[in-house]
Amino acid sequence: MPTPNDSAKALSPEEFQALLAAAGLTISAEQAPQVMAELELQRANAEIIDAALEHADPPGAPAFDPTFPKDASKDAPK
């Protein structure tokens, strides 16, 4: 199934420049590759996140408990 991050993979340098302009960013030609490399790193991170979410609990799973209860079984429904 496609994920929201898949669309970024198809970006060409020209499309990237157009995206920057649309976002109102003034980036020099020399700087563009550095931004693109940074974006590439974050796209890789987004793929890790997508993979993790694929295996996530379904909606309705228990919310995060900030107290880190010591014995989770005590909190489980009987």
Binding site: N5, V35, Q42, A44, A61, F64, D65, F68, K70, D71
Partner: protein
């Protein structure tokens, strides 16, 4: 108690002031003289408040014994990272963009609380531009001036290590307290996210930013933490809070020992020091439990995406203005990439953050852990000239290399204390992280205190080397 700034701690200075072995004026004067001597090479400070600090010291000498109980930080020299507001001083955030920033109207809340409890601010310490990175130029590492002090709170850690303040405030978004603490041989405490105030602190990534202390001992970190947390009344009980757990100093304590991620792609000397530290903790009575937190790489990815997206938003207007060109190219690229991430990418990262937090909570619950341990950083201080880290598998840029092991704990928001645990073959310090459950700052500090008491690493100071 003699006034030797190469080794004295905050609590040591308190003892000296109480015993009238030296005055506040003498303590501050010696600190400022030391800054004059070391700053030309170290560059830990953006600005030193010589006149204000000396004037305040005279005031405290007149009044320090008037308050009982004594204010916990009275007369102590403290540094503050230059993203925290200090009234009457511009907050420049290490950026040319803010070179002409107006003076701050009031202190950041953290600064206010410390000043209210008697701290004397020695100056603003160097930060990586907008706290976004690990180099902290032009500051250097007191253990080897050819090397970086880590970052982004590099100036704070370097100043503490060299003794031009005895404690400093830093901030940690991806490791910016723990990394510099680790590579300068100091103690860094990243409290639980959201527990200490961020008012008056220039943001990097608001849902990750965490202020905290960098000091020369665990006691000192707890002292500063309690003051900043508005818990100064508890300072008198620090020794009790940090007492041994039983007949054996760490008797009954269960520590998670990671078997993956935190043991991969790290320098051999760091790996060896970590293993020795783990065995030492075991000898002190702790039970080591091998754990495999498989979500650690996800935790790192989540921290990176959230960090970039939020910082891109913080700097939205700067990136779209002509003045924004004054931001250094590397920092700007980082913010620009963040501002280009889609809303769904950011929101999916926040979704995954809950997943990561549930997974670490389950790990602690399943193994009944009191805390986990890990190397603070996979490498010791890199050379400023190359900004590369050499691993057996090949070189890696400092940004990735130094943050790999710290960022997961920003995603979970857990408290972490980094303490010295050895030296590499170049005599550069190595750090050990103790990671607690949310709100367990005092428990991890108590564990760290036992380790500190029983090992030699805390008795070696960069400042003793060559000043």
């Amino acid at each position: 108690m003699s006034l030797d700034l190469s080794t004295i701690t905050l609590r040591g200075a308190i003892a000296g002031l109480e015993a009238r072995s030296f005055s506040v004026f003498e303590l501050i004067r010696e600190t400022l003289l030391r800054a004059r001597a070391t700053e030309p090479d170290l560059h830990a400070y953006v600005e030193v408040f010589e006149e204000a600090a000396l004037q305040t010291s005279l005031h405290h000498d007149r009044s320090q014994f008037a308050h009982r109980p004594r204010k916990p930080l009275v007369g102590l020299p403290i540094g503050v990272k230059d993203i925290f507001d200090v009234a009457g001083v511009p907050t420049k955030c290490g950026s040319a963009l803010f070179a002409d920033a107006p003076v701050a109207i009031r202190d950041a809340e953290t600064v206010h609380r410390m000043r209210r409890d008697g701290a004397i601010f020695i100056g603003k310490t160097v930060t990586q531009e907008f706290a976004a990175g690990v180099v902290s130029a032009p500051c250097r590492n007191p253990w080897d001036l050819d090397r970086i002090p880590g970052g982004s709170s590099g100036g704070s850690a370097a100043a503490v290590a060299i003794g031009t303040c005895l404690g400093a405030i830093g901030s940690d978004t991806g490791g910016s307290i723990r990394i510099p603490a680790s590579v300068t041989g100091t103690v860094g405490l990243k409290p639980t996210w959201g527990r200490l105030p961020l008012t008056g602190v220039y943001p990097l990534s608001p849902s990750l930013d965490t202020p905290g202390p960098i000091t020369r001992s665990v006691d000192d970190a707890v002292l500063m933490y309690l003051v900043i947390a508005n818990r100064a009344a508890e300072v008198a009980g620090i020794d009790g809070m940090l007492a041994p757990f039983g007949e054996k100093p760490l008797g009954g304590v269960r520590l998670g020992l990671p078997t993956s991620f935190f043991t991969e792609n790290i320098q051999p000397d760091v790996a060896a020091a970590f293993q020795v530290a783990a065995r030492e903790l075991e000898r002190l009575g702790a039970t080591l439990v091998e754990v495999d937190w498989t979500m650690a790489p996800v935790a790192r990815a989540v921290a990176a995406v959230i960090n970039r997206a939020e910082s891109g938003t913080v700097h939205h207007d700067h990136l779209r203005s002509e003045e924004g060109q004054l931001i250094e190219a590397a920092t700007r690229s980082r913010f620009e990439s963040g501002s280009l991430l889609t809303a769904s990418t950011y929101l999916r990262a926040t979704q995954a953050r809950n997943l990561v937090r549930n997974s670490i909570a389950a790990l602690y619950a399943t193994h009944e852990l009191d805390a986990m341990i890990a190397p603070s950083t996979g490498a010791t201080a890199p050379l400023a000239e190359t900004l590369m880290v050499d691993y057996p598998d090949g070189p890696e840029g400092v940004g990735t290399a130094l943050t790999r092991l710290t960022m997961p704990w920003n995603t979970t928001g857990q408290p972490v204390i980094s303490v010295p645990c050895g030296f590499d073959r170049d005599e550069l310090p190595i750090g050990l992280s103790i990671i607690g459950r949310p709100d367990d700052e005092l428990l991890i500090s108590r564990i760290a205190r036992q380790y500190e008491t029983e090992t030699q690493w805390f008795q070696r100071f960069a400042a003793e080397r060559d000043v």
